[in-house]
Each structure stands twice: as C-alpha cells, then as structure tokens.
Amino acid sequence: MREPSPDGIASPDLIKELGYVPNEERLRKGPVAIFECVEPIPCDVCVWACPLKAVSMGEITEKPVIDFNKCIGCGICVGRCPGQAIFVVDLSKDPPQVTVPYEMGEAPAKGVEVELLNRVGEPVGRGRVVKFFKDNLTYVVTVEVPSPELVMEVRAVRPVRGGDGA
C-alpha cells in the first residue's frame, strides 16, 4: 500500500488505490465526491452529513466508503469535513468543474476569476466561480477548470486580486 508523502501530500494514485475514485463512466456522468481521507481518523462527520446516505463506515476509526451510485455530488460533505479532505469533480460539464472548501480571505462571488492551486499550492491556471454556498462559515465553492486533467489536481482556490495574505 502506498503512503502519503512524509510532508503531507496524497498522490492521485494513492487516492485511487484507496477506492476513492469512481470509474470513467461514473466520472463522465455527472458531479461526484472524491474523498482524500487517507488515515483512520476517529471521525464520522461525512456519514451524517450526506443527505443521500451515500457514505458508510464500520467502526468510527475506519475509513469512509462511498457509494458512487447514490452520490450526486451535492457538495454538502465538502463543507462539513473537518479535514477538508472532500472535493467534488464534474467531468460532464465543459469546461469541467471542481468544488473545494474555502475559509480564507474575502467571500467568493459568482463569476469572479480565481487562481487554481494544486496540492502544493502552485497555481495551475485560472477559472471562474460558477456557484457557492455557505455551511457554518465554510464556503463550498465550485469553479471551472481549463482542462479535464486538472480536476484531480486543483484542490484550492485563491482570489486573483485580494493578494494580501492568503
């Protein structure tokens, strides 16, 4: 079994190996949650968050199991996960979309251009906010990404102008 890197990065291969990536067909069908929960943290917030009961867990110290046929990619779990380890990808749209949690600087707004950041904070392109909602102070932001490969790369966004700090 692969491990996350010693300095905190889970590769897309590891995510796949853990069963967190649905097959091509499901990916192309519509939005779906991608979990990046790689350790057995005693936490089951996602199980209770999901309105469709698509997430299950044995003991609280086990990893979550996602039923991709039930998941509709609504993004509620994205805002609730204390580890901010859940994202939604949508390859049915053109351009494709990624949904990420956001609780940094200024509030997002529809149509605003943001910088797309990968797992190590490198800008990998720019995209527009297509929608967002708020859950207990966390924004769940959906952005367009320029290419399908980027849906498994983009894991954070940053306002393009509000350059101070975050």
């Binding site: 943290i41 005693p42 003991e59 600087g105 950041l117 207990n136 975050a166």
Partner: protein, 478 residues
Amino acid sequence: MGYTGLRIHHHPVLTFRRGREVTIYFEGEPIKAFEGEALAAALYAAGHKILRYSPKHGRPRSVFCMIGKCGSCIVEVDGIAKRACQELVRDGMRVRRIKGYPVLKEAGGGAKPVEEVEAEALIIGGGPAGLAAAEVLGTHGVRTLIVDDSHRLGGQLIKQTHRFFGSRELFAGLRGFQIAEKYEEKIRSFESVDVLLRTTAIGVFKEGVFAVGEERNYVLRAGTYLVATGAVENYLPFENNDLPGVMGAGAAQTLMNVWGVLPGKRPLIVGAGNVGLIVAYQLLQAGAKPAAIVEAAPRIGGWFVHAAKVRRYGVPIYVRHTIVAAHGEEGVEAATIAEVDERWRPIPGTEKTIECDAVLLAVGLTPNVDLLRQFGAKTKYVPELGGLTALRTEYLETTVPGVYVAGDVAGVEEATTAIIEGWIAGYSMLMKLRGERDEWMKERERLLKLLKTYRSSPVSARVRAGLEKVIIGGEEVA
C-alpha cells in the same frame, strides 16, 4: 511606532468583539487600544514587542505564553507590577518597563481578602474535560465549583477556529470555539454549578485548595476533587530562543484568535504535529503567510489532512529539519534551519536562512501535574502520554481517594477523549458522593466502551501503550 498591520480586521471565521477605543501610555507614549483586551496584545499590536529586559543580562523580553505562566511580560501598570498578558486594558492606564526584578509588594503580594468556599465537587480547570464532568454533576444537582485561571471557560477550545473531528455525540463538525460557547451556555444553566474565572489554584493545604483570584483569594473545600488542568507547552533550546517574537504556538493562538492580533506576518513554525499544522492554517486564515513548518522527525507527526490543508496554500513543510538559531536585534528578523541526522543533530553545511518575523514553537505538550502532586497522587513518567502523569483507575480515581483526573493532564490526547474522560470522572465523583446506582454504573461502562473505540485506531497505539503503564486496579487507591 504606530501602524504595524498586526491587527486582524477581517477574519473568515471569527468576529472580534472589541471594546471602545481608548488611549493608554507606554513609557509615556500614547497608544490606541481597545478597552477590555489583554494589555500585552494591545502593546504587541502597537509594535511594542519588548515588554521588559531580563534582570541579569538585560536581554529584551516579550510575550511567550500569553496565559500568565512564564512571567516574561511583567510590566508596571500604574505603579504596580502586573503580567501584561493577564491585565486588561483600561482607559488612561500608564505602563512602564520594569528595570531589574519586580518588587514583590508591587506584584500584588499584599493582603487580599480570603474567602472560604465549600462545595460537593471542586473542578480545577474549565477545559473540555472539566466542563464534561461538570455537565454530569450539574445534571444530577451536585453542588459543584469550577475554577479556571482564564477569563473564559473552554480551555484550549476557545482558541480553535477549525472544525473538530469526532462523532455527533461529541460535537464533531463544530469549531473549537463554538463547542466552548455551547458548553459554557449549558454549564451556566445548571443552578448547582458555580464558576470562578481568572482564579488560579496554586496549592493544596490541610485547609483546602488555595486559589488566587483578581480581587480575593480563596480556600476551597470539597468532598471530591477533579484535576483537569490540561497540559503546558514544551520549550526548545536554540540560539536566541528568548528573542521577542519567539513564542509558544498556544501563545500565538491566544494573540490572534482571542485578541485579534497577529504574532507576525511571516512566522516560522517549529513542529509539524497537529498543533503546528493547525496553527499554520489559522495563520493563513488570519491573513499571515507562514514562512515554513520545520519538523525534526522523518515525517509529519500530525494528521495528514491537517498538513494537506496548509500545503495547498503553499506553506512548505521541511521534515528532518530543525531550527538552530533566531536572528534579530529587538525581535525576530530571520531564522537559520538545518537538516538533522537520525539522532536529530543538525548536519553542518545544511544550514539555510529563512526570513521570518516570529518563531512559533509547537514541539509538544506536557501534562500540567503540579496540583496532582500536591494532592499526594502518585505519578509516573510516561513519554507516550507526554511526561509525568498520575496513576489512576479506569474510572479515573488517582491513588488519593476522592481525587480524580481527566483530559490532557492525564495524558496528552484530544478534546474528544478529554470530554469522554470528563464524563466518566463525573460519574465516578457522583457515585463517590451519592453512592452507586445501576443506571449510573451502566452509563459509565458505556462511556468506557466509547473511549476504547476512540482509542482503537492504529494512530492511538502510542496512547494505548502509555495507558497500560498508568492504569491501576481499584485496590491500589489508598
């Protein structure tokens, strides 16, 4: 000095309820501050990092702990020596640096009225462990007193802006400060529970527990006692580790999340356990840009997801690295880090200089066992639990009958386990006072099972190993 930009004006999660703007004087110079905020925070925000000079060598000193424990912030307020981190701003207050040692009389050593208070249960420490115990005792109408040295209930929780892991029963998904607010509301609703804030229990005497408050001192007596004093931050030796701007990660959290003042705009964090990782995330939220996190171990010590959260905003984590020196005249301006070998010794030639304006130490916590030892409870050094901690039964009674422990003081863990332990201790205390009852015994067994489940993950293996060394049979309580 004026504008430093360290005040946090917009925060995505926190709202700072500041008092009215007033003027205070530091060494004669007028400073704008907010009424009711910690004096140390006001001075830090105004750019006055140096609060005193060390008595022997005249080295500049600034805030280090922000919880009244280290004494590095002692200043003269209207002629009396005070800890600036515990003193609240009042309009027109005159503050000066003290030359040499503070005078005892001035430090408040004079006579204060002493009040005697009796309760059925005394809880020392109002963090999650103490509050959970009070919840059980309050629900059953036990006359309970909580003393806490801070200005609010909640312990570590009041400084945490992130959502907590766990399950529904344990408030999971709520942010630390929100859990504290909920709990405070609940505890205040119990008629039989009283709270003494800004009151420090300092000693155990024949007459009772002696506690020092703002206006008066107390002798507190009870039928059962719970020590839930949490843990204290570890220190780290390196060159210039006393430079203003070097502080505990907990102090940084108090500054930015309680008082709305950044410890720096580009802090370096030492230690990639959960505390270091979370502080880095909180700094990002508050508008700072952490320079890096260094970790001497070959991999991060905290949860991987906490690391991922800061990596994706571009904060580098250097594993197998440590800090060797801080640099600067009146405060931190840079730090030297270096790679370490297997025995955590810096490897010559690998040094790198990092520009930073603060160094935050997140190098572990040690159980705060002082009072337990004063009670006469037997302690044991258990590295897996953070250091010296008390021997106790499964039901959390120490070797002194009627004296219980719960939370980080019983082994450094998490808020979730601290709460469950608090509930268990609460039931034990209840039964000590009121006698055993089937339903209470049953509930306590259920909680014990819940605790075991929480500790069953491979990540808790260390804690489990530590607990084996401190759990004793009931017959050993004497």
